[in-house]
Protein backbone atom coordinates (compact mmCIF):
# COMPACT_ATOMS: atom_id res chain seq x y z
CA UNK A 1 0.00 0.00 0.00
CA UNK A 2 0.99 3.58 -0.16
CA UNK A 3 1.91 4.97 3.18
CA UNK A 4 3.37 3.08 6.03
CA UNK A 5 0.15 2.16 7.74
CA UNK A 6 1.10 -0.70 10.00
CA UNK A 7 -1.78 -0.20 12.38
CA UNK A 8 -4.33 -0.47 9.59
CA UNK A 9 -2.68 -3.58 8.26
CA UNK A 10 -2.83 -5.00 11.76
CA UNK A 11 -6.55 -4.27 11.91
CA UNK A 12 -7.07 -5.80 8.49
CA UNK A 13 -5.19 -8.91 9.53
CA UNK A 14 -7.32 -9.16 12.66
CA UNK A 15 -10.50 -8.85 10.59
CA UNK A 16 -9.35 -11.52 8.16
CA UNK A 17 -8.46 -13.80 11.07
CA UNK A 18 -11.92 -13.31 12.58
CA UNK A 19 -13.47 -14.12 9.21
CA UNK A 20 -11.35 -17.25 8.85
CA UNK A 21 -12.27 -18.41 12.35
CA UNK A 22 -15.95 -17.76 11.62
CA UNK A 23 -15.85 -19.74 8.37
CA UNK A 24 -13.65 -22.58 9.59
CA UNK A 25 -14.98 -23.22 13.11
CA UNK A 26 -18.20 -24.93 12.01
CA UNK A 27 -16.22 -27.07 9.57
CA UNK A 28 -13.75 -28.06 12.29
CA UNK A 29 -16.55 -29.05 14.67
CA UNK A 30 -18.21 -31.09 11.93
CA UNK A 31 -15.01 -33.00 11.25
CA UNK A 32 -14.28 -33.63 14.94
CA UNK A 33 -17.82 -34.81 15.64
CA UNK A 34 -17.71 -37.11 12.62
CA UNK A 35 -14.79 -38.98 14.18
CA UNK A 36 -16.69 -39.80 17.37
CA UNK A 37 -18.92 -42.79 17.90
CA UNK A 38 -22.49 -42.23 19.05
CA UNK A 39 -21.72 -43.67 22.52
CA UNK A 40 -18.62 -41.52 22.86
CA UNK A 41 -20.62 -38.52 21.82
CA UNK A 42 -23.39 -39.22 24.36
CA UNK A 43 -20.93 -39.80 27.18
CA UNK A 44 -18.77 -36.76 26.59
CA UNK A 45 -21.40 -34.49 25.15
CA UNK A 46 -19.86 -31.76 23.09
CA UNK A 47 -16.12 -32.05 22.97
CA UNK A 48 -13.23 -31.16 20.73
CA UNK A 49 -11.42 -34.41 21.34
CA UNK A 50 -11.44 -36.39 18.13
CA UNK A 51 -12.37 -40.05 18.35
CA UNK A 52 -11.18 -42.77 16.06
CA UNK A 53 -14.47 -43.77 14.52
CA UNK A 54 -14.57 -41.83 11.27
CA UNK A 55 -14.12 -44.94 9.12
CA UNK A 56 -16.91 -46.71 11.02
CA UNK A 57 -19.24 -43.73 10.69
CA UNK A 58 -18.45 -43.51 7.02
CA UNK A 59 -19.20 -47.20 6.54
CA UNK A 60 -22.47 -46.77 8.37
CA UNK A 61 -23.47 -43.79 6.22
CA UNK A 62 -22.47 -45.77 3.15
CA UNK A 63 -24.43 -48.91 4.02
CA UNK A 64 -27.30 -47.80 6.23
CA UNK A 65 -28.44 -44.62 4.51
CA UNK A 66 -29.39 -43.81 0.92
CA UNK A 67 -26.69 -41.15 0.65
CA UNK A 68 -24.44 -42.99 -1.86
CA UNK A 69 -27.23 -43.29 -4.41
CA UNK A 70 -28.41 -39.76 -3.63
CA UNK A 71 -24.90 -38.47 -4.22
CA UNK A 72 -24.97 -40.13 -7.64
CA UNK A 73 -28.32 -38.39 -8.29
CA UNK A 74 -26.74 -35.05 -7.35
CA UNK A 75 -23.89 -35.66 -9.79
CA UNK A 76 -26.33 -36.50 -12.58
CA UNK A 77 -28.68 -33.57 -11.95
CA UNK A 78 -25.74 -31.20 -11.44
CA UNK A 79 -24.17 -32.29 -14.74
CA UNK A 80 -27.45 -31.96 -16.67
CA UNK A 81 -28.28 -28.58 -15.15
CA UNK A 82 -24.75 -27.17 -15.66
CA UNK A 83 -24.42 -28.33 -19.29
CA UNK A 84 -27.95 -27.21 -20.07
CA UNK A 85 -27.51 -23.78 -18.54
CA UNK A 86 -24.23 -23.23 -20.37
CA UNK A 87 -25.66 -24.42 -23.71
CA UNK A 88 -28.75 -22.22 -23.39
CA UNK A 89 -26.68 -19.25 -22.28
CA UNK A 90 -24.13 -19.63 -25.10
CA UNK A 91 -26.71 -19.68 -27.88
CA UNK A 92 -28.76 -16.84 -26.40
CA UNK A 93 -25.75 -14.61 -25.67
CA UNK A 94 -24.37 -15.31 -29.14
CA UNK A 95 -27.65 -14.21 -30.71
CA UNK A 96 -27.87 -11.15 -28.48
CA UNK A 97 -24.32 -9.91 -29.03
CA UNK A 98 -23.40 -10.89 -32.59
CA UNK A 99 -26.60 -10.39 -34.56
CA UNK A 100 -28.43 -7.40 -35.91
CA UNK A 101 -32.17 -7.38 -35.85
CA UNK A 102 -35.11 -6.38 -33.79
CA UNK A 103 -36.04 -7.94 -30.49
CA UNK A 104 -32.55 -8.49 -29.11
CA UNK A 105 -33.06 -6.01 -26.31
CA UNK A 106 -36.41 -7.56 -25.43
CA UNK A 107 -34.98 -11.09 -25.35
CA UNK A 108 -32.13 -9.95 -23.16
CA UNK A 109 -34.53 -8.18 -20.78
CA UNK A 110 -36.81 -11.22 -20.59
CA UNK A 111 -33.86 -13.43 -19.72
CA UNK A 112 -32.25 -11.11 -17.18
CA UNK A 113 -35.56 -10.39 -15.42
CA UNK A 114 -35.59 -14.01 -14.27
CA UNK A 115 -32.65 -13.33 -11.96
CA UNK A 116 -34.81 -11.24 -9.62
CA UNK A 117 -37.38 -13.91 -8.76
CA UNK A 118 -35.87 -17.23 -7.70
CA UNK A 119 -37.67 -20.52 -8.31
CA UNK A 120 -38.28 -20.87 -4.57
CA UNK A 121 -40.77 -18.02 -4.62
CA UNK A 122 -43.07 -19.66 -7.17
CA UNK A 123 -42.60 -23.22 -6.03
CA UNK A 124 -46.29 -24.16 -6.04
CA UNK A 125 -47.05 -23.25 -9.64
CA UNK A 126 -43.63 -24.41 -10.91
CA UNK A 127 -44.57 -27.76 -9.41
CA UNK A 128 -47.90 -27.62 -11.26
CA UNK A 129 -46.19 -26.95 -14.58
CA UNK A 130 -43.67 -29.74 -14.04
CA UNK A 131 -46.50 -32.12 -13.14
CA UNK A 132 -47.90 -31.51 -16.62
CA UNK A 133 -45.65 -29.72 -19.09
CA UNK A 134 -48.39 -29.95 -21.74
CA UNK A 135 -50.47 -27.53 -19.67
CA UNK A 136 -49.95 -24.49 -21.98
CA UNK A 137 -50.78 -26.61 -25.05
CA UNK A 138 -54.03 -27.73 -23.46
CA UNK A 139 -54.91 -24.20 -22.44
CA UNK A 140 -54.18 -22.90 -25.95
CA UNK A 141 -56.19 -25.62 -27.69
CA UNK A 142 -59.13 -25.28 -25.32
CA UNK A 143 -59.33 -21.50 -25.43
CA UNK A 144 -62.86 -20.62 -26.46
CA UNK A 145 -63.87 -24.27 -26.62
CA UNK A 146 -61.96 -24.66 -29.88
CA UNK A 147 -60.77 -28.21 -29.39
CA UNK A 148 -64.13 -29.40 -28.06
CA UNK A 149 -65.78 -28.09 -31.21
CA UNK A 150 -63.30 -29.96 -33.39
CA UNK A 151 -62.74 -33.18 -31.48
CA UNK A 152 -65.78 -33.46 -29.29
CA UNK A 153 -63.96 -33.11 -25.98
CA UNK A 154 -61.39 -30.77 -24.49
CA UNK A 155 -57.73 -31.52 -25.19
CA UNK A 156 -56.14 -33.14 -22.16
CA UNK A 157 -52.51 -34.04 -22.82
CA UNK A 158 -50.47 -35.25 -19.86
CA UNK A 159 -46.69 -35.04 -19.65
CA UNK A 160 -45.49 -35.41 -16.10
CA UNK A 161 -41.81 -34.60 -15.51
CA UNK A 162 -41.91 -34.89 -11.72
CA UNK A 163 -39.60 -37.47 -10.25
CA UNK A 164 -37.37 -37.58 -13.33
CA UNK A 165 -33.85 -36.22 -13.76
CA UNK A 166 -35.08 -33.86 -16.48
CA UNK A 167 -37.91 -32.62 -14.28
CA UNK A 168 -35.49 -31.76 -11.48
CA UNK A 169 -32.74 -30.29 -13.68
CA UNK A 170 -34.59 -28.30 -16.36
CA UNK A 171 -36.48 -25.92 -14.05
CA UNK A 172 -33.11 -25.16 -12.42
CA UNK A 173 -31.98 -23.88 -15.84
CA UNK A 174 -34.75 -21.27 -15.97
CA UNK A 175 -32.52 -18.55 -14.57
CA UNK A 176 -30.68 -15.90 -16.51
CA UNK A 177 -27.51 -15.20 -14.51
CA UNK A 178 -25.39 -17.39 -16.77
CA UNK A 179 -26.58 -15.48 -19.85
CA UNK A 180 -25.90 -12.15 -18.12
CA UNK A 181 -22.28 -13.12 -17.46
CA UNK A 182 -21.72 -14.56 -20.94
CA UNK A 183 -23.17 -11.52 -22.70
CA UNK A 184 -20.70 -9.35 -20.78
CA UNK A 185 -17.90 -11.68 -21.84
CA UNK A 186 -18.89 -11.86 -25.53
CA UNK A 187 -18.97 -8.08 -25.65
CA UNK A 188 -15.28 -7.99 -24.79
CA UNK A 189 -14.44 -10.07 -27.88
CA UNK A 190 -13.24 -7.84 -30.73
CA UNK A 191 -15.73 -7.72 -33.62
CA UNK A 192 -12.84 -7.78 -36.09
CA UNK A 193 -12.54 -11.46 -35.29
CA UNK A 194 -15.99 -12.16 -36.65
CA UNK A 195 -15.44 -9.87 -39.62
CA UNK A 196 -12.26 -11.77 -40.49
CA UNK A 197 -14.20 -15.02 -40.22
CA UNK A 198 -16.83 -13.69 -42.60
CA UNK A 199 -14.15 -12.69 -45.12
CA UNK A 200 -12.72 -16.18 -44.87
CA UNK A 201 -16.15 -17.49 -45.78
CA UNK A 202 -17.28 -18.81 -42.40
CA UNK A 203 -20.99 -18.65 -41.59
CA UNK A 204 -22.33 -17.65 -38.18
CA UNK A 205 -22.56 -21.21 -36.86
CA UNK A 206 -19.08 -22.04 -38.08
CA UNK A 207 -17.74 -18.94 -36.31
CA UNK A 208 -19.53 -19.93 -33.10
CA UNK A 209 -18.22 -23.48 -33.15
CA UNK A 210 -14.69 -23.00 -34.48
CA UNK A 211 -13.67 -19.62 -33.07
CA UNK A 212 -15.92 -18.30 -30.34
CA UNK A 213 -16.29 -21.50 -28.29
CA UNK A 214 -12.56 -22.35 -28.25
CA UNK A 215 -11.89 -18.73 -27.25
CA UNK A 216 -14.35 -18.90 -24.36
CA UNK A 217 -13.13 -22.22 -22.99
CA UNK A 218 -11.77 -20.71 -19.77
CA UNK A 219 -14.84 -18.71 -18.72
CA UNK A 220 -17.14 -21.53 -19.84
CA UNK A 221 -15.46 -24.17 -17.69
CA UNK A 222 -15.45 -21.81 -14.72
CA UNK A 223 -19.13 -21.05 -15.22
CA UNK A 224 -19.87 -24.74 -15.72
CA UNK A 225 -18.22 -25.65 -12.42
CA UNK A 226 -20.07 -22.85 -10.65
CA UNK A 227 -23.41 -23.93 -12.13
CA UNK A 228 -22.74 -27.56 -11.19
CA UNK A 229 -22.18 -26.47 -7.60
CA UNK A 230 -25.28 -24.24 -7.69
CA UNK A 231 -27.39 -27.22 -8.76
CA UNK A 232 -25.76 -29.49 -6.19
CA UNK A 233 -26.67 -27.22 -3.27
CA UNK A 234 -30.32 -26.79 -4.28
CA UNK A 235 -32.73 -27.91 -1.62
CA UNK A 236 -36.31 -26.72 -2.01
CA UNK A 237 -36.88 -27.68 -5.66
CA UNK A 238 -35.35 -31.18 -5.43
CA UNK A 239 -37.35 -31.66 -2.23
CA UNK A 240 -40.71 -31.14 -3.94
CA UNK A 241 -39.86 -32.33 -7.46
CA UNK A 242 -38.47 -35.74 -6.45
CA UNK A 243 -40.87 -37.82 -4.41
CA UNK A 244 -39.29 -41.25 -4.82
CA UNK A 245 -36.08 -42.24 -3.04
CA UNK A 246 -34.62 -43.18 -6.43
CA UNK A 247 -34.48 -39.51 -7.48
CA UNK A 248 -33.79 -37.79 -4.15
CA UNK A 249 -30.70 -35.59 -4.18
CA UNK A 250 -27.94 -35.76 -1.58
CA UNK A 251 -28.70 -32.51 0.25
CA UNK A 252 -32.34 -33.52 0.69
CA UNK A 253 -31.21 -36.94 1.90
CA UNK A 254 -28.90 -35.30 4.44
CA UNK A 255 -31.72 -33.15 5.81
CA UNK A 256 -33.87 -36.29 6.12
CA UNK A 257 -31.25 -37.97 8.31
CA UNK A 258 -32.35 -35.42 10.90
CA UNK A 259 -35.82 -36.87 11.07
CA UNK A 260 -35.01 -40.37 12.12
CA UNK A 261 -36.60 -39.76 15.48
CA UNK A 262 -34.18 -40.92 18.15
CA UNK A 263 -34.42 -38.88 21.31
CA UNK A 264 -30.88 -37.58 20.99
CA UNK A 265 -30.11 -37.55 17.29
CA UNK A 266 -27.08 -39.43 16.04
CA UNK A 267 -25.10 -36.26 15.40
CA UNK A 268 -21.81 -38.03 14.55
CA UNK A 269 -23.60 -39.89 11.78
CA UNK A 270 -25.28 -36.69 10.53
CA UNK A 271 -21.98 -34.83 10.49
CA UNK A 272 -20.33 -37.68 8.58
CA UNK A 273 -23.16 -37.39 6.07
CA UNK A 274 -22.64 -33.63 5.91
CA UNK A 275 -18.97 -34.20 5.05
CA UNK A 276 -19.89 -36.68 2.33
CA UNK A 277 -22.46 -34.33 0.80
CA UNK A 278 -20.26 -31.23 1.00
CA UNK A 279 -16.89 -32.64 -0.02
CA UNK A 280 -17.38 -32.88 -3.82
CA UNK A 281 -18.39 -29.23 -4.36
CA UNK A 282 -15.90 -28.09 -1.72
CA UNK A 283 -13.02 -29.76 -3.56
CA UNK A 284 -14.16 -28.16 -6.81
CA UNK A 285 -14.21 -24.73 -5.17
CA UNK A 286 -10.87 -25.06 -3.40
CA UNK A 287 -9.14 -26.31 -6.56
CA UNK A 288 -10.76 -23.99 -9.09
CA UNK A 289 -11.04 -20.89 -6.89
CA UNK A 290 -9.04 -18.63 -9.20
CA UNK A 291 -10.85 -19.76 -12.33
CA UNK A 292 -14.28 -19.42 -10.74
CA UNK A 293 -13.55 -15.92 -9.50
CA UNK A 294 -12.20 -14.95 -12.90
CA UNK A 295 -15.22 -16.43 -14.65
CA UNK A 296 -17.69 -14.65 -12.37
CA UNK A 297 -16.03 -11.26 -12.37
CA UNK A 298 -14.39 -11.40 -15.81
CA UNK A 299 -11.34 -9.74 -14.35
CA UNK A 300 -7.85 -11.08 -14.87
CA UNK A 301 -6.53 -9.99 -11.50
Amino acid sequence: MIENSRSIDRWATAILLCGLVFVLTPMAFVIVTATQSYEEFLRRNFSLIPGGHFAENLREVWTRTDLPRQTLNSIIVGAIAATGRIALAVTTSYAVVFFTGRGRGLVYALVVASIMLPLELMIITAYQVTANVALPLNALANAGGLWSALAGRPLDLQWNLLDSYAGIAIPLMAQGSCTLILVQFFRTIPPQLARAAIIDGAGPLRFLWDILLPLSKGPLTALGIYMFISAWIQYMWPLVAASSPARTMAVVGLARLQEEGERIPDFPLQMTGAILVTLPPLILIAVFQRRIVRGLTLSEK
Binding site: I233, Q258, V277, K301
Partner: protein, 294 residues
Protein backbone atom coordinates in the same frame (compact mmCIF):
# COMPACT_ATOMS: atom_id res chain seq x y z
CA UNK B 1 -24.42 -2.85 -28.23
CA UNK B 2 -21.91 -2.16 -30.91
CA UNK B 3 -20.94 -5.54 -32.21
CA UNK B 4 -23.91 -6.72 -34.32
CA UNK B 5 -22.07 -8.47 -37.05
CA UNK B 6 -24.14 -11.13 -38.69
CA UNK B 7 -27.27 -10.31 -40.58
CA UNK B 8 -29.78 -13.13 -40.48
CA UNK B 9 -33.48 -13.09 -39.81
CA UNK B 10 -34.34 -16.54 -38.56
CA UNK B 11 -31.11 -17.83 -37.09
CA UNK B 12 -30.90 -15.60 -33.99
CA UNK B 13 -34.45 -16.58 -33.07
CA UNK B 14 -33.59 -20.26 -33.39
CA UNK B 15 -30.58 -19.64 -31.18
CA UNK B 16 -32.70 -17.95 -28.51
CA UNK B 17 -35.61 -20.36 -28.77
CA UNK B 18 -34.41 -23.07 -26.34
CA UNK B 19 -33.64 -20.56 -23.58
CA UNK B 20 -36.92 -18.73 -24.13
CA UNK B 21 -38.88 -21.99 -24.08
CA UNK B 22 -37.32 -23.09 -20.79
CA UNK B 23 -37.86 -19.64 -19.31
CA UNK B 24 -41.45 -19.57 -20.50
CA UNK B 25 -42.27 -22.98 -19.04
CA UNK B 26 -40.51 -22.70 -15.70
CA UNK B 27 -40.36 -18.97 -15.03
CA UNK B 28 -43.07 -16.99 -16.81
CA UNK B 29 -45.75 -19.68 -16.85
CA UNK B 30 -45.50 -20.28 -13.07
CA UNK B 31 -45.92 -16.54 -12.55
CA UNK B 32 -48.97 -16.47 -14.85
CA UNK B 33 -50.41 -19.52 -13.10
CA UNK B 34 -49.88 -17.92 -9.69
CA UNK B 35 -51.95 -14.94 -10.84
CA UNK B 36 -54.55 -17.30 -12.33
CA UNK B 37 -55.02 -19.26 -9.10
CA UNK B 38 -54.98 -16.09 -7.01
CA UNK B 39 -58.24 -15.14 -8.70
CA UNK B 40 -59.70 -18.64 -8.97
CA UNK B 41 -60.78 -21.32 -6.56
CA UNK B 42 -60.00 -24.96 -7.24
CA UNK B 43 -63.15 -27.05 -7.35
CA UNK B 44 -63.08 -30.15 -5.18
CA UNK B 45 -62.70 -33.58 -6.84
CA UNK B 46 -60.77 -32.18 -9.81
CA UNK B 47 -63.70 -30.12 -11.11
CA UNK B 48 -61.61 -27.38 -12.65
CA UNK B 49 -61.56 -23.78 -11.52
CA UNK B 50 -64.03 -21.06 -10.69
CA UNK B 51 -63.40 -17.33 -10.92
CA UNK B 52 -63.83 -15.71 -7.52
CA UNK B 53 -62.48 -12.19 -8.03
CA UNK B 54 -60.63 -10.85 -5.02
CA UNK B 55 -62.10 -13.39 -2.58
CA UNK B 56 -58.74 -15.16 -2.15
CA UNK B 57 -57.00 -11.88 -1.39
CA UNK B 58 -59.70 -10.95 1.15
CA UNK B 59 -59.26 -14.30 2.85
CA UNK B 60 -55.45 -14.09 2.93
CA UNK B 61 -55.27 -10.43 3.94
CA UNK B 62 -57.87 -11.04 6.64
CA UNK B 63 -55.74 -13.56 8.49
CA UNK B 64 -53.42 -12.39 11.24
CA UNK B 65 -51.10 -15.30 10.57
CA UNK B 66 -50.40 -13.90 7.09
CA UNK B 67 -49.60 -10.42 8.38
CA UNK B 68 -47.17 -11.62 11.03
CA UNK B 69 -45.52 -13.81 8.38
CA UNK B 70 -45.32 -10.90 5.92
CA UNK B 71 -43.80 -8.60 8.55
CA UNK B 72 -41.27 -11.26 9.48
CA UNK B 73 -40.40 -11.76 5.80
CA UNK B 74 -39.80 -8.07 5.21
CA UNK B 75 -37.68 -7.73 8.34
CA UNK B 76 -35.73 -10.85 7.44
CA UNK B 77 -35.08 -9.61 3.90
CA UNK B 78 -33.66 -6.31 5.14
CA UNK B 79 -31.69 -7.64 8.10
CA UNK B 80 -30.37 -10.79 6.43
CA UNK B 81 -29.16 -9.04 3.28
CA UNK B 82 -27.82 -6.08 5.29
CA UNK B 83 -25.84 -8.24 7.69
CA UNK B 84 -24.39 -10.50 5.00
CA UNK B 85 -23.40 -7.69 2.61
CA UNK B 86 -21.92 -5.72 5.53
CA UNK B 87 -19.83 -8.67 6.66
CA UNK B 88 -18.65 -9.41 3.12
CA UNK B 89 -17.76 -5.73 2.59
CA UNK B 90 -15.59 -5.57 5.71
CA UNK B 91 -13.85 -8.82 4.75
CA UNK B 92 -13.32 -7.65 1.16
CA UNK B 93 -11.85 -4.32 2.33
CA UNK B 94 -9.46 -6.20 4.60
CA UNK B 95 -8.51 -8.71 1.89
CA UNK B 96 -7.88 -5.89 -0.59
CA UNK B 97 -4.85 -4.76 1.40
CA UNK B 98 -2.08 -7.02 0.21
CA UNK B 99 -1.45 -8.96 3.37
CA UNK B 100 0.09 -12.35 3.82
CA UNK B 101 -3.29 -13.72 4.85
CA UNK B 102 -5.15 -12.35 1.82
CA UNK B 103 -4.28 -15.22 -0.51
CA UNK B 104 -5.53 -17.94 1.84
CA UNK B 105 -8.54 -15.89 2.84
CA UNK B 106 -9.57 -15.43 -0.78
CA UNK B 107 -9.73 -19.18 -1.19
CA UNK B 108 -11.30 -20.10 2.14
CA UNK B 109 -13.98 -17.41 2.05
CA UNK B 110 -15.42 -19.18 -0.99
CA UNK B 111 -15.80 -22.51 0.79
CA UNK B 112 -19.26 -21.84 2.27
CA UNK B 113 -20.54 -21.72 -1.32
CA UNK B 114 -20.08 -25.51 -1.40
CA UNK B 115 -22.41 -25.99 1.56
CA UNK B 116 -26.12 -26.06 0.76
CA UNK B 117 -28.38 -23.95 2.94
CA UNK B 118 -30.03 -27.12 4.21
CA UNK B 119 -26.63 -28.62 5.10
CA UNK B 120 -25.72 -25.43 6.93
CA UNK B 121 -28.99 -25.75 8.79
CA UNK B 122 -28.25 -29.35 9.79
CA UNK B 123 -24.76 -28.34 10.95
CA UNK B 124 -25.70 -25.16 12.84
CA UNK B 125 -28.69 -26.77 14.52
CA UNK B 126 -26.20 -29.15 16.06
CA UNK B 127 -23.48 -26.58 16.83
CA UNK B 128 -25.97 -24.23 18.49
CA UNK B 129 -27.94 -26.98 20.21
CA UNK B 130 -28.59 -25.66 23.75
CA UNK B 131 -27.77 -28.97 25.45
CA UNK B 132 -25.25 -30.63 23.15
CA UNK B 133 -23.64 -27.81 21.15
CA UNK B 134 -21.18 -24.98 21.78
CA UNK B 135 -23.54 -23.09 24.17
CA UNK B 136 -24.06 -26.17 26.36
CA UNK B 137 -21.47 -25.28 29.05
CA UNK B 138 -22.84 -21.73 29.33
CA UNK B 139 -26.36 -23.06 29.50
CA UNK B 140 -25.38 -25.28 32.41
CA UNK B 141 -24.18 -22.27 34.38
CA UNK B 142 -27.09 -20.00 33.43
CA UNK B 143 -30.03 -22.22 32.51
CA UNK B 144 -32.17 -20.74 29.76
CA UNK B 145 -29.42 -18.40 28.53
CA UNK B 146 -29.70 -19.77 25.00
CA UNK B 147 -32.60 -21.75 23.64
CA UNK B 148 -33.63 -21.18 20.04
CA UNK B 149 -36.39 -23.78 20.37
CA UNK B 150 -38.40 -21.62 22.74
CA UNK B 151 -37.08 -18.10 22.25
CA UNK B 152 -37.97 -16.46 18.89
CA UNK B 153 -35.08 -13.97 19.18
CA UNK B 154 -32.61 -16.79 19.60
CA UNK B 155 -34.18 -18.61 16.67
CA UNK B 156 -33.71 -15.53 14.48
CA UNK B 157 -30.15 -15.03 15.71
CA UNK B 158 -29.44 -18.62 14.65
CA UNK B 159 -30.93 -18.03 11.19
CA UNK B 160 -28.96 -14.80 10.70
CA UNK B 161 -25.65 -16.34 11.72
CA UNK B 162 -26.22 -19.26 9.35
CA UNK B 163 -27.31 -16.88 6.59
CA UNK B 164 -24.24 -14.65 6.94
CA UNK B 165 -22.03 -17.73 6.92
CA UNK B 166 -23.55 -18.98 3.71
CA UNK B 167 -23.76 -15.60 1.94
CA UNK B 168 -20.12 -14.55 2.37
CA UNK B 169 -18.67 -16.11 -0.84
CA UNK B 170 -20.72 -14.44 -3.57
CA UNK B 171 -20.72 -10.91 -2.13
CA UNK B 172 -17.06 -11.26 -1.19
CA UNK B 173 -15.99 -12.23 -4.74
CA UNK B 174 -17.89 -9.40 -6.40
CA UNK B 175 -16.90 -6.71 -3.89
CA UNK B 176 -13.24 -7.73 -3.84
CA UNK B 177 -13.11 -7.69 -7.65
CA UNK B 178 -14.64 -4.21 -7.57
CA UNK B 179 -12.08 -2.99 -5.05
CA UNK B 180 -9.19 -4.41 -7.04
CA UNK B 181 -10.36 -2.74 -10.21
CA UNK B 182 -9.88 0.68 -8.59
CA UNK B 183 -6.68 2.06 -10.13
CA UNK B 184 -3.73 2.38 -7.80
CA UNK B 185 -3.13 5.94 -9.09
CA UNK B 186 -6.31 7.14 -7.41
CA UNK B 187 -5.02 5.92 -4.06
CA UNK B 188 -1.68 7.57 -4.70
CA UNK B 189 -3.26 10.81 -5.79
CA UNK B 190 -5.46 10.79 -2.72
CA UNK B 191 -2.51 10.10 -0.47
CA UNK B 192 -0.50 12.93 -2.04
CA UNK B 193 -3.42 15.25 -1.40
CA UNK B 194 -3.18 14.27 2.23
CA UNK B 195 -6.14 11.90 2.46
CA UNK B 196 -5.56 9.19 5.06
CA UNK B 197 -6.76 5.61 4.64
CA UNK B 198 -10.16 6.29 6.22
CA UNK B 199 -10.73 9.32 4.08
CA UNK B 200 -9.76 7.37 0.96
CA UNK B 201 -12.13 4.59 2.00
CA UNK B 202 -15.00 7.05 2.26
CA UNK B 203 -14.24 9.27 -0.71
CA UNK B 204 -12.56 6.91 -3.20
CA UNK B 205 -13.20 3.26 -2.49
CA UNK B 206 -16.85 3.25 -1.43
CA UNK B 207 -18.09 5.62 -4.18
CA UNK B 208 -16.24 3.63 -6.85
CA UNK B 209 -17.53 0.38 -5.39
CA UNK B 210 -21.19 1.42 -5.69
CA UNK B 211 -21.89 -0.57 -8.91
CA UNK B 212 -20.75 -3.80 -7.24
CA UNK B 213 -22.48 -2.90 -3.96
CA UNK B 214 -25.69 -2.31 -5.86
CA UNK B 215 -25.55 -5.67 -7.67
CA UNK B 216 -24.70 -7.50 -4.46
CA UNK B 217 -27.50 -5.88 -2.45
CA UNK B 218 -30.13 -6.55 -5.12
CA UNK B 219 -29.12 -10.19 -5.56
CA UNK B 220 -28.70 -10.76 -1.84
CA UNK B 221 -32.29 -9.68 -1.16
CA UNK B 222 -33.59 -12.36 -3.54
CA UNK B 223 -31.03 -14.87 -2.29
CA UNK B 224 -31.80 -14.35 1.38
CA UNK B 225 -35.41 -15.32 0.66
CA UNK B 226 -34.67 -18.39 -1.44
CA UNK B 227 -31.97 -19.54 0.96
CA UNK B 228 -34.22 -19.01 3.95
CA UNK B 229 -36.29 -22.09 3.09
CA UNK B 230 -33.41 -24.53 3.51
CA UNK B 231 -32.38 -22.89 6.78
CA UNK B 232 -35.88 -22.74 8.24
CA UNK B 233 -36.84 -26.24 7.16
CA UNK B 234 -33.80 -27.74 8.88
CA UNK B 235 -33.41 -25.38 11.86
CA UNK B 236 -36.71 -24.03 13.15
CA UNK B 237 -39.51 -25.41 10.95
CA UNK B 238 -41.22 -22.06 11.29
CA UNK B 239 -41.17 -22.16 15.09
CA UNK B 240 -41.11 -21.38 17.91
CA UNK B 241 -44.81 -20.62 17.77
CA UNK B 242 -44.73 -19.59 14.10
CA UNK B 243 -42.17 -16.84 14.77
CA UNK B 244 -39.90 -17.82 11.86
CA UNK B 245 -42.71 -18.89 9.54
CA UNK B 246 -41.55 -16.65 6.66
CA UNK B 247 -43.77 -16.40 3.58
CA UNK B 248 -41.57 -18.75 1.54
CA UNK B 249 -42.05 -21.42 4.19
CA UNK B 250 -45.71 -20.63 4.79
CA UNK B 251 -46.49 -20.90 1.06
CA UNK B 252 -44.78 -24.28 1.01
CA UNK B 253 -46.77 -25.61 3.96
CA UNK B 254 -50.07 -24.09 2.78
CA UNK B 255 -49.64 -25.50 -0.70
CA UNK B 256 -48.00 -28.88 -0.18
CA UNK B 257 -49.21 -29.80 3.31
CA UNK B 258 -52.65 -28.13 3.57
CA UNK B 259 -53.39 -28.42 -0.20
CA UNK B 260 -54.68 -24.84 -0.28
CA UNK B 261 -53.64 -24.08 -3.87
CA UNK B 262 -55.48 -20.77 -4.18
CA UNK B 263 -54.31 -19.48 -0.81
CA UNK B 264 -50.70 -20.43 -1.57
CA UNK B 265 -50.90 -18.87 -5.05
CA UNK B 266 -52.35 -15.66 -3.63
CA UNK B 267 -49.49 -15.40 -1.14
CA UNK B 268 -47.04 -16.18 -3.96
CA UNK B 269 -48.40 -13.20 -5.89
CA UNK B 270 -48.08 -10.98 -2.82
CA UNK B 271 -44.54 -12.21 -2.11
CA UNK B 272 -43.46 -11.63 -5.72
CA UNK B 273 -44.96 -8.15 -5.56
CA UNK B 274 -43.06 -7.53 -2.32
CA UNK B 275 -39.76 -8.59 -3.90
CA UNK B 276 -40.53 -6.53 -7.01
CA UNK B 277 -41.29 -3.46 -4.88
CA UNK B 278 -38.12 -3.87 -2.81
CA UNK B 279 -36.02 -4.36 -5.96
CA UNK B 280 -37.72 -1.42 -7.63
CA UNK B 281 -37.10 0.76 -4.60
CA UNK B 282 -33.44 -0.21 -4.73
CA UNK B 283 -33.26 0.85 -8.35
CA UNK B 284 -34.94 4.16 -7.53
CA UNK B 285 -33.01 5.05 -4.41
CA UNK B 286 -29.73 3.19 -4.70
CA UNK B 287 -29.03 3.27 -8.40
CA UNK B 288 -29.04 7.03 -8.40
CA UNK B 289 -26.02 6.94 -6.15
CA UNK B 290 -24.18 4.48 -8.33
CA UNK B 291 -21.27 5.91 -10.28
CA UNK B 292 -20.47 3.76 -13.28
CA UNK B 293 -17.62 5.74 -14.76
CA UNK B 294 -14.31 5.85 -13.10
Amino acid sequence: MKQEIFRARALPWWLCAPQLLVLFLFFYLPIILAFFWAFHLEQPFGGGSQFVGFANFRRVLGSGEFWSSARATLAYMVLASGSSVGTALVLALAADRRLRLSGIARNIFLWPKAVASASIGVIFVFLLNPYLGIPAPLNEIWPGLWNPRTNPLHAYAMLFVANVWSAIPFSFIILLAGLQAIPEELHKAGAIDGAGPWRRLRDIQLPLLTPQLFVVVVLEVADSLSGSFGLIDTMTRGGPGGATNLLVYKIYSDGFKAYDLSGAATQTVILMALVAVVTGAQYLFLERRVRYDR
